[in-house]
């Protein structure tokens, strides 16, 4: 069976490497690109900030109070004497920590439970699915407020907040991962993998998991978003670790001191803008990933 095409038709071009394909895709996917850029700027701000400021300045009584933005205090200071530039830097870092810890743990739980439930089926699936479905309608905000509110103020740390947020945050991811795996496991390439002698674990990790990476990434971003937002509103309500310069805390403090009425506009504005940028970039990244994960919505590539 000779192939008679040699010479007359030039061979098709070699495909691009994964890296180049990824870059080309990002340039096409506007949301993803925009989100990543804003996120990059925020990260740059925080990282460079740590070289400039002294973290201690983020805490009360470190600087002159109620100073508007100036050369000495680029973002001004608050009623308690926090250097707000330092506070923003440390606060962003802490927000990121909560987001990543809570988001990461929530995603991990979701992925493990989702995979187990879908791949092994039977009563395991029934239990996990039922638990998720029972917990989902519970009003998360209320429970979080009640739990954190009942803790001793001194016990509320960054880590504790992250745990409270994870508590009711993993169900969505579990159900999404479960439904994706359920579809995937019926796909014929899984049957062929079985025929090629691949074990169950091999199929989960080598055949199915790689295809779910966009979903898992998207789920992670959503979890981080939810965690960051939760930390924000809990802190704004005054339930956060009050000493720490969490962005929500700053706003709560500003509000409790009547910042706007007193003309200290920079005090609540800065954390608000920061929070908008953080949540906004996460949302954009999520939109971008959504398009990547869902081939039907995909416009680029």
């Amino acid at each position: 069976m000779t192939d008679m095409t040699a010479g007359a038709i030039p061979a098709p071009p070699k495909p691009m490497s994964r890296g180049r394909r990824a870059l080309r895709y990002i340039s096409r996917n506007r949301s993803l690109a925009a989100g990543l850029i804003v996120m990059a700027v925020l990260i740059l701000f925080t990282v460079s900030g740590f070289f400039i400021i002294d973290p201690k300045d983020a805490y009360p009584l470190s600087a002159a109070t109620k100073q508007p933005p100036s050369w000495r205090y680029p973002l001004g200071t608050d009623f308690f004497g926090r250097n707000l530039y330092a506070a923003m830097v440390v606060g962003m870092w802490q927000t990121a920590l909560i987001g990543v810890i809570a988001g990461g743990i929530g995603t991990a739980i979701g992925v493990v439970l989702g995979f187990t439930s879908a791949y092994f089926g039977g009563w395991i699936d029934f239990i996990i699915k039922s638990v998720c479905q029972i917990l989902t309608p519970i009003p998360v905000l209320l429970i979080q407020v009640v739990v954190v509110g009942s803790l001793d103020k001194r016990d509320v740390t960054i880590f504790v907040m992250a745990m409270v947020i994870v508590m009711l945050g993993w169900m969505g991811t579990t159900l999404v991962v479960r439904s994706q795996v359920l579809t995937m496991k019926e796909r014929q390439f899984v049957s062929v993998a079985k025929l090629s002698g691949v074990s169950s674990f091999g199929i989960i990790f080598k055949e199915i998991m790689p295809n779910l990476l966009p979903f898992i990434a998207a789920a992670f971003v959503i979890q981080v978003f939810t965690a960051v937002f939760a930390s924000f509103y809990l802190a704004v309500l005054g339930l956060g670790p009050l000493r720490e310069p969490l962005l929500g805390n700053i706003i709560w403090a500003a509000q409790s001191q009547g910042a706007f009425f007193n003309g200290w506009w920079w005090w609540p504005m800065e954390p608000a803008i920061a929070m908008i940028l953080i949540l906004g970039s996460l949302a954009l990244i999520n939109m971008g990933l959504d398009e990547l994960a869902n081939p039907r919505v995909r416009k680029a590539e």
């Binding site: 069976m1 000779t2 192939d3 008679m4 095409t5 010479g7 007359a8 038709i9 098709p12």
Partner: protein, 338 residues
């Protein structure tokens, strides 16, 4: 009445003037990897009551042709030129609104897997009415119901199907509903794109016999797109062969199966299995070229057993032979120096 009862195609008498006249249709797809000429100077005619089979490998342009005729080509594809005349009305020259009116009333398209386009939560009757309501805004409900009942009967379905949901019907019956929708407004031209690909062989025969009967009833011209040569042999009057976006041959079905002209058509016919050559397999060597990188001259020359130097240099023109057959090949062009 079985198809075998119908007289030989060549003995059939068709009206003299064609009801469908496609002239130099061109469609290009503008992709990031380059420009792909999906249809290149395609021209043919069809008379009322006549059945034309359109065959070719995937990528040959046969489905693109159907979409182009219906003006359903989406970006990055563009219709670059040509005319599609149905009863002397050029569809390409109509406004968007006029074209919308023409779909289903002048020219109907039954896509592949049409049964999947039926809405699973709506009753069949509602969907049929939905399809034609904009064409007949003033028709009363009872007149509409009558029209639908008539269409259903013509595809051998009981009018009670009007009230059923798609899932209550078998695949073949769903496909026949799609045919019924296609003929509700008695179009002049019906394009059926692989209407039986998901159906088993017995249902396939049933559906094709249905299309035949319906075509006779409204005296429409039918274009059947597919790659099953057997189906063509049993159903169509003439066969058109596409290769890489170009129309390479149009002959009557008997001529195509007994004495094909174009080397590609000949290779296709030779590769067909039938009762007499059990165990003999003859594929066509090589692969169809990508539309983005077509060979110079004739697109088929790299795989052609009879290629000559001129074939790599010059594109062959489509020529109408004295016999009324069309062939696009240097071998049949007396003006090409041998």
């Amino acid at each position: 009445m079985a198809i075998s009862d119908i007289a030989e195609p060549s003995a059939k008498v068709f009206a003299e003037t064609p009801v469908l006249n496609v002239e130099s249709l061109e469609v290009t797809y503008y992709t990031d990897a380059g420009r792909a000429k999906a249809l290149d100077d395609v021209s043919f005619t069809l008379r009322a009551g006549e059945k034309l089979g359109m065959v070719g490998e995937s990528g040959s342009g046969k489905s693109t042709l159907a979409l182009a005729m219906m003006r359903m080509i989406k970006p990055p594809g563009r219709i670059e030129g040509g005319k599609v005349l149905v009863d002397d009305v050029d569809l390409m020259a109509l406004t968007d609104e006029e074209m919308r009116q023409s779909r289903l009333s002048r020219i109907a398209y039954i896509p592949q897997g049409a049964m999947n386009s039926l809405n699973p939560v709506m009753r069949i009757g509602a969907q049929m009415v939905d399809a034609v309501r904009s064409h007949l805004p003033d028709e009363s409900r009872s007149a509409m119901a009558d029209r639908c009942a008539h269409a259903l009967r013509s595809v051998d379905l009981d009018p009670s199907v009007f009230r059923m949901h798609p899932h209550e019907l078998s695949g073949g019956m769903q496909q026949r509903v799609c045919i019924a929708i296609g003929v509700l407004l008695e179009p002049k031209v019906i394009i059926a794109d692989e209407p039986t690909s998901a159906l088993d062989v017995v249902t396939q025969r049933q559906v094709m016999e249905t299309i035949d009967r319906v075509k006779d009833e409204i005296n429409a011209a039918v274009i059947l797109i597919g790659h099953d040569m057997g189906l063509m042999a049993q159903f169509v009057d003439r066969v058109a062969v596409m290769y890489s976006g170009r129309l390479v041959e149009v002959s009557t079905v008997r001529e195509m199966f007994t004495d094909p002209n174009h080397p590609y058509a000949r290779a296709l016919i030779n590769s067909l299995p039938n009762l007499d050559n059990k165990g003999v397999f003859q594929g066509i060597p090589g692969l169809a070229p990508s539309l983005l990188r077509l060979p110079s001259g004739c697109a088929f020359h790299p795989r052609c057993a009879e290629a000559r130097p001129v074939c790599a240099e010059k594109r062959p023109r489509a020529r109408m032979l004295d016999t009324g057959r069309l062939v696009t090949c240097h071998l049949f062009d007396p003006e090409v120096a041998t």
